[in-house]
Symmetry: C2
Subunit: 133 residues, 2 copies
């Protein structure tokens, strides 16, 4: 079984690599046959090439990730974290509120990622499209 | 597919029922054939009786749940939330940092719950066992 500290370190590396727009380093955290479902309920991306292309696109938006609470481990090969995606959209400055769950293979790589967020978790903070609430 | 607003309302009801120690109301949010894995990596509890017994025990500890960020939905039949369990242990006042993921059946009931937390997510705040950090 994968060590809890290792899983949390890999989750933190994901955040840090993203915030340096280092898409290759993010993709390098994944196993060759890994899956990414972001958001949950959308088509699953499978394997190295699809995942690399996804993160190349994702970091090109200039988005930044900010943890909202400490990363959680588990008693198995899985960990979870809560964060906000901060990004500029045509509608203005926005955040998407996300929870990611990763599972790990025996080599300590991500074997799957699921990102929980819905349209109602996207909030425009300022600009012409600012969310009224 | 289950409405995002319904899922978030059910997640909030789970928190509220727990904080009233209303174990029957919590169990009532689950489908008859639902599963609970708390923490992830421990034996799965399956079905109405096992789940009802689990929550009867859980609320008897006097624990309280406090959301740490807004509940997240998804584009499918799943939602996630981050919270702290506040409880008194022999070692002192403690919190367990948890992320729960629920899936829903077509009737809008929880079909599964997974709770992500590890020993390193349990922190003793005060008393003889206070965590040094």
């Amino acid at each position: 079984m994968i060590d809890d500290a290792h899983m949390k370190k890999a989750m933190q590396a994901y955040i840090d690599h993203f915030n340096r727009a280092d898409h290759a380093a993010i993709a390098g955290l994944y196993a060759d046959d890994a899956t990414v479902e972001d958001p949950v309920g959308s088509p699953v991306k499978t394997g190295k090439d699809a995942i690399a292309a996804f993160y190349k696109m994702a970091v090109s938006t200039g988005a930044r990730l900010k943890l909202a609470a400490p990363i959680r481990g588990s008693h198995g090969n899985a960990a979870a974290m809560v964060f906000e995606v901060q990004l500029n959209m045509p509608e203005g400055e926005a955040v998407i509120r996300v929870i990611d769950v990763m599972t790990f293979n025996d080599a300590g790589q991500f074997s799957s990622m699921k990102a929980y967020w819905s349209r109602s978790d996207m909030v425009v903070l300022s600009g012409p499209g600012a969310t009224k609430s």
